[in-house]
Subunit: 344 residues, 2 copies
């Protein structure tokens, strides 16, 4: 059945176990014939190496951890699902496996987490999503233990970023700039903006993109801008403030989809038809973005690819390739759906 070991393969192929190991790991020293013989033996025995044994004796664990935090219901989690999917695919291709860990930010025991990751699991790397990827304490604990990490959409700290791991992101500035320009092309000039979480670099970059597109770097009129925290709930009061004004904007651009959905919700309740009387746009292209009414115009991030790249980075790095420790920027794309139209 499933009990074939490397010894069995070695016996059948008539070589030493070391040679089997070499062939299976693609190490150089092995003649083509031997290689073929071993492969054949392995296949015929339906041999699969044991992860634990490999991890115990070697220096790799073939394990990558994806660490997330935050409330379930917050639909930012959706983003994590997609990331995970990409990471799993990359893991599979590399013979790796993905562990999912979760940490409650309230009772956050970073020490225990780090210890588990580094000592018990000996993972080859961890993938950190916001806001964990920006936590200096966690980052430095991980760095101390020598755990490779990849940060998703990180807030780079100019002093530390090279010690805190590689990151993947989109060009948030350009994404916001383009979306704003798209809205302007439709004829909008009075475009409200809902900010993202102030602790997250992407928030500032998106705002800058909006500002530069609409005001050419000049100041943003106060009536057009409202604070937000990237959550649906934080978008509600912001939308109400923007839409409650005597002369309300003809379009609202929220720094992410969750908040854009909040705008949709408030507009609906106030009886403001979208997109005829109000255009709404977001960023992220959450799965829900296409099922809300009307479907949301947004910016799509290649989240799956980003997850895959993150995993691949760890795999390659563990295998020896030392990549430069920086940030990889992925292409985004404008997704125009039905929540935007020229102003009345």
């Amino acid at each position: 059945m499933s009990k074939a070991t490397i010894y069995d393969v070695a016996r059948v192929a008539n070589v030493s176990i070391k040679t089997v190991s070499r062939v299976l790991n693609g190490e150089p020293k092995a003649s083509p014939e031997t290689r073929a013989r071993v492969m054949e033996a392995a296949r015929s025995l339906n041999y699969k190496p044991s992860l634990s044994a490999r991890a115990l004796s070697g220096s790799r664990s073939f394990l990558i951890a994806l660490v997330s935090s935050g409330g379930v219901s917050d639909n930012a989690m959706l983003y994590v699902t997609e990331l995970q999917m990409g990471a799993i695919q990359a893991c599979r291709a590399g013979g790796y496996h993905l562990l999912t860990e979760y940490i409650d930010l309230n009772t956050s025991d970073f020490d225990a987490l780090t210890e588990t990751l580094a000592s018990t699991l000996r993972v080859d790397g961890v993938i950190l999503v916001p806001p964990l990827c920006d936590d200096p304490q966690l980052l430095s604990l991980l760095a101390e233990r020598g755990v490779t990490c990849v940060r998703i959409s990180p807030t780079l700290n100019p002093d530390q970023d090279d010690a805190w791991g590689w990151g993947v992101d989109i060009d948030n500035y350009r994404a916001a700039f383009q979306m704003t320009r798209y809205l302007m092309d439709q004829g909008h000039r009075d475009i409200g903006f809902i900010q993202g979480h102030p602790g997250h670099a992407a928030a500032a970059q998106r705002q800058a993109g909006y500002r530069d597109a609409l005001f050419d770097g000049g100041p943003i009129p106060e009536r057009l801008i409202q604070p937000g925290l990237f959550t649906f709930n934080s978008g509600l009061p912001a939308a109400r403030a923007l839409l409650g004004q005597a002369q309300r904007p003809t379009a609202i651009f929220a720094a992410n989809d969750s908040m854009a959905m909040a705008v949709l919700s408030v507009a609906y309740k106030m009886g403001i038809p979208v997109p005829t009387a109000l255009s709404v746009a977001g960023i992220d292209d959450l799965p829900a973005a296409s099922v809300v009414c009307p479907p949301l115009t947004t910016v799509r991030q290649p989240v799956m690819e980003m997850g895959a790249a993150a995993a691949r980075f760890i795999i390659d790095r563990t295998a020896g390739q030392v990549g430069s420790y920086l940030k990889q920027i992925f292409d985004h794309s404008l997704v125009v759906r039905e929540s935007t139209a020229p102003p009345a």
Copy 2:
């Protein structure tokens, strides 16, 4: 740093490594004093046992796999995220870890998956979500390999279910019955229904609940029922068919939230106001259900708890407790939001 091994602990506590192992695993033979000494030594050294070593030498791997399939964008995935969260929590409590695996149903290589799970990872159990949890081929492969599995919302096969693992579910019949009755209490009599995927037992049970509540077991008029597949897209034509009739229903109950959202979308496009001219209800309480317009009346399943129970079952079983091989039913609850109201 992080290099403490069981040898170090044994040395510090002045006992043999076997005794350390015993204490740390909560095995019976150990005097209170020794136990205390070992615990202290372990703490002072910040010792964490190596998962690989434990797995390699013992009979448990401390690993549970959550296997899912299906397209990312389908918002049924949200459900998986929540399950995962629950499972992770239970894992943590038991010293276990959760692996996430994904299988593409198109190229579904169940053999390779099973082999990986059983031979490479030697997981202590797998959690299967629909529709995987109903695939006879996968189920029997897993059973052959002796892999414990827990099925989420499974379609029980009367001949085989005791060989195919334990399951967790809600009482779909009652959930649908109650929702239908709720709609009736509001004054609705003309309630349309959108069916779930015919291969999934929950679909039939939900339909039966609806039928028994509304027609007391009698036949459902054809004009009130439409086929669906549990996906948003499959709900679109069903909703159009229901709402396109000359005398359209005053309420539509979809077998799940994704399809209920499709109804919302179609109603929106047809200019039918919800809930004033049409009530809409679903089942699942997806995260998105509360952010669509109007927020959806639905039935909440305790998905997180179900995930936790699934993991706990595997952990307990591996530790020795042999649970009865059946299905555990969790309580659901009606969540009344704004998509339902008495008919005009």
